[in-house]
Symmetry: C2
Subunit: 420 residues, 2 copies
C-alpha cells in the first residue's frame, strides 16, 4: 500500500464529509443552478476535454485495448452535449430532500416525523466510461450528497479534465467546497483505501464489470450497493401469444446484448416448444444469435450447440442465448430462482393465475408479464435518471434514481417529555 | 476453521433459503397462527426451558461471569411469559408484505407497481440474552423472512431449548420447514461462516457489544445493518426552561444508563452554565452519577473530574456523564457531529430558529427538541416491535420494526411492449 495515496484519498474523503454537512442544508435553488452551470462549463470546455480524451484513446489503442472498451472510453462533441444534457435534466427533477415520509403524534404528545435526508458521502468506483463522472456527480449532488469519484485508470486524463471543469463550475455557483472530489490517481490502491473509509464514506456504489463488483462486495468495510449483474430470463408459457413471445424475446436478446437487462436464457413450455422454437431459432439466427440448447430443445432444433450447466449461470453480455424446455411453470420458476441474479425476469402468458404466480414467486428486482426485460431502467421507470440498477435487497432494489440516494431522519418535537 | 461447522451452517442457510421462497408467499393468517402457537408452546414448555437455563446459569457463575451479564442470561417464569407476549403482540401487528408503495402507468402503457416483499434470509448474531431468540424469530417470520440465529455460547442450552420449542410449534402450525434455524454450536467459527454466506444470507444484523458489531461490519461479505452504538448528547440552550432541561437530562442519563439511547455527554450554553450546572451536578450526584467536565465546566463546578478527549468519544453505558460548556449552538452542533454515533440527540430550547437548525444540521437517526433521547425505540415510536436501532444510513435508520425487515419488488404488466 502506497502511504501517499492513502493519505491523499483519506484527506479527500474528510473534505467531502465536511462539505456534506453544508450540502445537506443547501437549497434546491443553489443545487440546480450549480448543475446548470456545470453543464454550461462542460460545453464551453469541450475542446480541452476532447484533447484529454484523445490522450487516453491513443494510450489505449497502443495497449491493444478491445474495440468495445475503446467505444466506452471515447468522447466526442455529441457525448459531451449528452453529459451536459444529463446535468440539465437532473436539475429539473424534483429534489427529494426534506420530503416527509410519515408523521405521527404519540399518546404522550411527542410529534414524530420521518423526512428524507442525504446519505452523506457516496463513493463511486467505475471503469472506462468518462460520462459517469458527470452523471454520478449530478445525481449525488442533486440529492445533497458529497461524492468521491474513482474512475478507471484508462480514462484518467479524460476524467481529470471533466472533473476539473465540474468542480470549478460547481464551487463558483455556490456549492460547498469539497462536495465533489475526484481521485486523480491511476493507482489501484485507491480502491482499497476507499473500501476502508468507514466513518467517512457512507456507501460505495461500484459500477463496472463483475470482477470489480465482486471485489468491492467481498472486501469493503464501507456498506456497498451491488449493481449490474443480470442473468435475465424469458419464460414462454403454454397458451402464450407466440408472435408476442417472439417479439419480446428478440427485443430482450438483440436490442442491446451487452447490457444487464438483456435476456441470457429463454425457457419454453413443452406444450408450445415444437411450434415456437423453430421460428425463434430462425429469427435469432437472422440476428446472428448463437443458440445453446438443452437436450429437449435440441430434439426440436437439432443444429443448436449443447447448453452446459455453466451456460445457465453465465451472463453472456453477447449474442448468445441458452434455451431450455420446461414441463410447467414450477420448473420455470425453480430454474429462474436457482440461476438468476435478482435483476429482471419476464413471462409471456395469457393465463391470469400463472402470471400472478410468476410475479409472486420469482425472486428478482423487476418481474414482468408480457413485456421485454429491457425496460428495467431508471428512465423507462420514470425516475428521470439512474445511478445503476441494484440487484441486492437492502436499501434499494432495481433502478436507483434520486430517491434511492437518500436516507431518512426522525425529527421529534416535545414539550419536556421524559420516558417512564 | 472447523469444516464440520462450516458444512452444518451452510446447509442450514441453504434450507433457510429454500424455506424463504415458500415463506414469502405464506399468508398472514398462517404466519399469525404460527406465532400464537409458538407463544403457547413456550409457556407450555417453561419448565424444560428453565431447566436448560439453570444449566447455563450454573456454568456462567462457575466462570465468574459479571452480575450484569448473569442478569441478561437469566430466565424465569415472568421472562418466558414476556417472550410469549412478544410473539402474540407481533402476531397482532399489520403484515407489511404486499403493501403497495407506488404505482404508475408509463406513456407506453406499461403498468409499474412497487410492493413490499420479504428480504429473504436474515442472519441474527446476538450475545447473552435468550429472549432475543424468540423476539427475532417473531419479527423475521412475521415479515416473511427465514431466519438463521446464532446466539452467544454462554446461552447455548437456553437457546437450544427455546428454539426447539419454537421450531416444532411453527412447523406444526404450517410454517415452511426450515424457515427458523438455530445454529446449535458454541464454536466461534460459526460467525465467520455466516459472514461469508453471500447468495444464501441476504443480511446480517448483529445485536450485542461494540466488539461484535465492529467485527461483523468490517469482515462480513454479506450486507450488514449496524445497530446499537449510542453516544447521545443533550444540548441545553440559552433561554431554555432549565427545570425542563434538568428533568430531561436526568431521565436521559439515569433512567437506564446501560442502553444505547441514554445520554453520555451534556453540552451547556455558556449563558446558562452558572445557573444550570450547580443544580444539575447536585441532582446527578444524588443519583450516583460521576461527572467529568471540561475546563470551563470545572470553573463552575470545581469538584468534577477532568474530561479528556477520550471521554467525548466514549459510550459509558454507565452512571458517568461528561460535561462541556459551549459558546453557542454552532459549537454544540460541531461537537455532536464530531463525536456522536448517529443515534439520538436532543436540544432543550425555547428558540424556534435554533430548534430548527439543530434538527436540520445534527446528523443522527433521531433529533429531538425538548424531549429525552430515551424515546428512540420501536415501541415508543409506535412500530409495535423492534429488532434493533440502526445507526447507519442505508436501508433503515433508527428503530427497525417490521417495515424495516422488508425489501421491494417491481411488478410490471404489459401487452407485448418492447423497447425501442
Amino acid at each position: 500500500m502506497n502511504n501517499n495515496i492513502e493519505e491523499i484519498v483519506r484527506e479527500q474523503a474528510r473534505a467531502a464529509k465536511e462539505a456534506s454537512r453544508r450540502l445537506a442544508v443547501t437549497s434546491s435553488a443553489v443545487k440546480d443552478a450549480a448543475l446548470r452551470a456545470m453543464a454550461e462549463a462542460l460545453e464551453e470546455n469541450a475542446a480541452k476535454i476532447l484533447e484529454a480524451n484523445a490522450g487516453d484513446m491513443a494510450a489505449a489503442r497502443e495497449k491493444g485495448t478491445p474495440r468495445a472498451m475503446l467505444d466506452r472510453l471515447m468522447l466526442d462533441e455529441k457525448r459531451i452535449h449528452g453529459m451536459a444534457d444529463g446535468l440539465r435534466q437532473t436539475a429539473m427533477l424534483p429534489d427529494p430532500i426534506g420530503e416527509g415520509e410519515m408523521e405521527t403524534i404519540r399518546p404522550n404528545g411527542l410529534e414524530i416525523r420521518r423526512v428524507k435526508v442525504p446519505i452523506g458521502v457516496i463513493g463511486i468506483i467505475y471503469e472506462a466510461r468518462p460520462n459517469v463522472t458527470a452523471d454520478a456527480a449530478a445525481l449525488c449532488l442533486k440529492s445533497g450528497n458529497a461524492v468521491l469519484l474513482r474512475g478507471g485508470s484508462e480514462a484518467l486524463q479524460s476524467n481529470r479534465a471533466v472533473s476539473r471543469v465540474l468542480v470549478e463550475a460547481a464551487e463558483k455557483a455556490g456549492m460547498p467546497k469539497g462536495a465533489l472530489q475526484f481521485i486523480d490517481s491511476a493507482s489501484r490502491d485507491a480502491v482499497g483505501v476507499m473500501m476502508n473509509l468507514t466513518g467517512l464514506l457512507d456507501v460505495i456504489i461500484p459500477r463496472g464489470g463483475a470482477g470489480l463488483i465482486r471485489r468491492v462486495v467481498t472486501e469493503s468495510a464501507v456498506p456497498v450497493i451491488e449493481t449490474g449483474a443480470g442473468i435475465c430470463h424469458t419464460f414462454v408459457d403454454e397458451g402464450a401469444d407466440l408472435d408476442m413471445a417472439l417479439r419480446i424475446a428478440l427485443n430482450a436478446k438483440t436490442s442491446r446484448p451487452a447490457v444487464c437487462n438483456a435476456m441470457e436464457t429463454i425457457l419454453v413450455h413443452e406444450g408450445v416448444a415444437k411450434e415456437f422454437l423453430p421460428k425463434m431459432a430462425k429469427a435469432m439466427r437472422e440476428k446472428d444469435v448463437e443458440l445453446r440448447g438443452d437436450e429437449a430443445a435440441r430434439a426440436v432444433v437439432p443444429d443448436m450447440a449443447v447448453a452446459t450447466e455453466e451456460d445457465w449461470a453465465t451472463e453472456y453480455d453477447d449474442l448468445i442465448l441458452s434455451v431450455k424446455i420446461v414441463k410447467n411453470i414450477d420448473e420455470a420458476i425453480a430454474h429462474i430462482n436457482r440461476y438468476n441474479t435478482g435483476h429482471s425476469e419476464t413471462i409471456v402468458t395469457n393465463d391470469l393465475n400463472r402470471a400472478h404466480r410468476f410475479q409472486r414467486e420469482v425472486d428478482a428486482a423487476a418481474v414482468y408479464v408480457n413485456a421485454s426485460t429491457r425496460f428495467t431502467d431508471g428512465f423507462e421507470f420514470g425516475f428521470g435518471a439512474e445511478i445503476g440498477i441494484s440487484t441486492q435487497k437492502l436499501h434499494a432494489r432495481g433502478p436507483m434514481g434520486l430517491n434511492e440516494l437518500t436516507s431518512t431522519k426522525y425529527l421529534i418535537f416535545g414539550e419536556g417529555q421524559i420516558r417512564a
